[in-house]
């Protein structure tokens, strides 16, 4: 069965903060409704906690860790789900039920299934 990652792009919020409680109720409801297709996922701390790592000069080179996300965008990557669905239509159907899709955007991408 194909797997898809659903990346949620929303305002750069702190999901653990009390003011997100109402939103979290929605996500929990989604989690229950979509339990049959969810294979994993997680909510991310805000981009201020992100560290972007590069190795200058390629493998074995200098490790440069910089403060901040890979890309500074108005809507930030704030979480992800792993879905197992029959096809893209089903995955898009679930993504549309994510609160992130209502105010931000959800990027749905198929996973390569190696060895299958």
């Amino acid at each position: 069965m194909p797997q898809y990652i659903a990346l949620t792009y929303t305002a750069d919020v702190d999901w653990s903060a009390p003011e997100q409680a109402a939103e979290m109720v929605e996500y929990n409801a989604f989690g229950q409704a979509a339990a049959a297709v969810i294979r994993g996922g997680g909510a991310l701390y805000p981009t201020a906690t992100a560290t972007t790592v590069r190795v200058n000069g390629g493998k074995g080179g200098d490790v440069v860790a910089s403060d901040g996300p890979y890309a500074e965008t108005k809507e930030a990557l704030t979480g992800f789900y792993l879905f197992e669905c029959a096809d893209l239509d089903e995955a898009v159907g679930w993504a549309a039920k994510l609160p992130a899709a209502w105010s931000g955007a959800v990027e749905v991408r198929p996973l390569i299934q190696f060895g299958k």
Partner: protein, 463 residues
Amino acid sequence: MTPGPNGWTTARVDTSGAKLPASLSQSVHSEPPGHSEPPGHSEPPGHSEPQDTCAPAVRAALVRVARDEGARVLATLVGLTGSLQLAQDAVQDATIRALETWPRDGIPDNPRAWLTVTARRRAVDILRREAQRAGKEIAAMDVNGPWDDAAPTAQAVDDDLLRLIFTCCHPALALETRVALSLRTVCGLSTAEVARAMLVPEATMLKRLTRAKQKIAQARIPYRIPAAHELPERVSAVAACIYLIFNEGYAATSGEDVLRAELVDEALRLGRLVHALMPDEPALSGLLALMLLQDSRRGARRDAAGDLVLLADQDRTLWRRDLVVEGVTLVGSALKRTPDRPDPYVVQAALAACHALAPSYRQTDWDAVVSWYDVLLTVHDTPVVRLNRAVAVGERDGAAAGLAEVEAVTGLDGYPLWHASRAELLWRLARPDEARAAWRGALTLESNEATRRFLQQKLDGGR
């Protein structure tokens, strides 16, 4: 949301895909030439070049079959193999086989069945070859199982054709990609022809088509007819694709030729096809009616020099009455079936019918035209629709009223026809200097050569 019986997930290739490279198409197969191209150049060694020995009658028959049946054969093969690329390769090979054997053995009684069976066997061969190359075995059941040689029923073939159309017009593909895929697969144009029609280099088009097929395969865009509740959105994605093809042909956005008739014909073919497959969809009746009514004016839209003739100045005896009658009849039946919410294509077709039925420009029922634009604005509110309504108001209530309406339309500063419409009304109001300035504005924005000549004549002649 379970896939249909021929969904990607249940198709046989998915089982065998477990033992094959992740995608047959992307790694091994190059883009095959289209049905109408001379075959041979992407063929594996061992194939002769049959076109030299092929009798013209056979070639003509084959080209006709490929045009008429190609999409159905391809659709059946995609249903069987679950892979658009593999199906295209197999159908292409079957077409080449036909060119080799038909001159010798005669044209078969049922060319579509012959092509389908041959393509199916070819698909099995390709699967075996790829499996071998990957050092893997292909399970016997993968190539036998449902692959018996019984011809699929007409209903099954039509269902596969619908699946193919809905897949090529899936909303997860960009509109320009849907257009390219539909022209390539459903209309059977070659990649080179699609590239030329869409005014992009062939390499760009090849890349676009390859990426599209990869997305369909890798993201699992399903090969199925949408469920009833999805149908309105999906039908309108199909309609948008066909109408874009029509408009590309009807009024090319650049280049010398106003009418790229080939694309108009392809759009009409597609429009007739989807209407025949889904006769109860008002949007598709409306779309076909709209295209027929617009195309009925084809012979009157240009003068002997190839320059544009406005609706007001067209010789209406040149309009194709048969297309008008067909279009008007379709509008009538579509209006009866239109649900609570008016369909934009049906309303636009009703507008076209108002013009088609008017004995002259002056005698047009402008009241009805303005009313239809009001209806259209309730479902399709765009600045261009507002501009068209404003022009109709000008015809109904006079140039001063029209000019006020045109100038009230915002957001069209970069649209040549807004300036040209303003110019026309200013001229009628005996304000020639302002009219000329407006025509100059239109001219600087217009890229179509024939339209530019038209605007230049207006400017030079004052009118």
